[in-house]
Amino acid sequence: MEHLFFVDRERGIRKTYEDLLSELSLKRSIGHVINSDKSYEVFIDLVLSLINGVEVELVDSDLSHNEIEALGIKSIDQRYTFGDAHWTAQNSFADLLDLIDIGKSSWRLTLYTSGTTGRPKKVTHTFDSLTRSVKIGVNHKDDIWVFAYNPTHFAGLQVFFQAFLNMNPIVFVFDTPRSKVFDIMQEEKVTHISATPTFYRNTLVTFEKPVNTIRRATSGGEKFDPYIETIMRKAFPNARLNNIYASTEAGSLFAAEGDVFKISDGIADKVRINQDGELLVHKSLLGQSVDILLDEDWYHTGDIVELTDQKQFRFVSRKSEMINVGGYKVNPYEVEEAILNIEGIEDAIVNSRTNRVTGSILVASVVRNSEADHIDEEFVTKELSKILQQWKIPRLIKFVDKVELTRTGKKARN
């Protein structure tokens, strides 16, 4: 019997686990750095690095060319070569899992996450820190996963390992036009989905009927709210809903039904909430990184939470100034810097404005000098489009005489 592995209808790709095994047998080398916008290739490289137990870096496909250069990855052109591998097309999936079991202790995966200083943070995960929340077992053997995250992001990797380690099919819809997603989900008889609230907000409204095959639907990466819950219940009437708290630094830590997260007994002594209400996570739960600042073994998540009882909490807000635009975290300082680089602009401040489509969008107040009348909203947008990804471009730009300052002399942020 064939076991479906990866379906991407937009690109006409349909691969089985048998295809994966035979493609792995042909590979004799792998780059130290995985930098591809082809999801299937990324997944093959991940598995190849795992069975060989090597350290690889995965470059976020959202990073711009300049950002990748700024990472200063030294090994970008280097490759591991494996010679005549112990791996042949005759091997089975069980053999593959055996090799992963050996390779995983020396395997490391480095990711880059957007940092508040403008330079992405480098975080290295072990197999265990990356797959902490993966559940393997006979209960999961018939799962069929909708893949709705960027495969180079932490959440995408979680879904990949959950599906792959259970030999489940992955139905890729991450960049599929929203209007086609319903038919794909219906025809592939998917049972599990994990996606951001923005994906749900924008995709589920195109559904004219529910998808009855979905048994579990997970939301992650942004704040969950009652509206998301309502549209998810309507689209997936037979599903259990849950909501995941995860970060690139710490991996997947808590799950909730609704918006109240449970702190499980296993990690209760590794999580605490300080007097400001900020959630702190013990370093033993984190990936390895020199870029993560610790406060006596504790990592400050930047999330302000409130306890609903001893073991449960709810999100209140973000302490950090990063703005979440449709699931993409944007550092307003980076955008301000780009605006200030436009000739004729004297000052700028970037804030967020909430809406029901993408959670937030960026809005900017800009001061132009007296000789810069040619600078209007369209001009600024076009200039920024040359250097920034589209979610980093303010969608409302106001021209003002001066940028408001607070009493401490800082720019006033909303």
Binding site: R178, S179, V205, T206, N355, V357, T358, E377, E378, R395
Partner: protein, 74 residues
Amino acid sequence: MQEKFLQIINDIRRKRGMKPIESLNRDLNLRDDIGFDSFDLAELTVRIEDETGIDIFENGIINTVGEILDALKG
């Protein structure tokens, strides 16, 4: 209001390098016909809110121009 609404749509299209549309028809789909993505729709909703005080997505599903016009009528 319809004129203002058309102007907002065309302002967004122009910034994205798309040609203006000449008139609005209730059946136009915001994504498929007008060519808006999520970021464009987010901009559209806040610009309409600034003009009218109405959050067009308040009651959830908005796919067409007609649904926005209905939301604006209240």
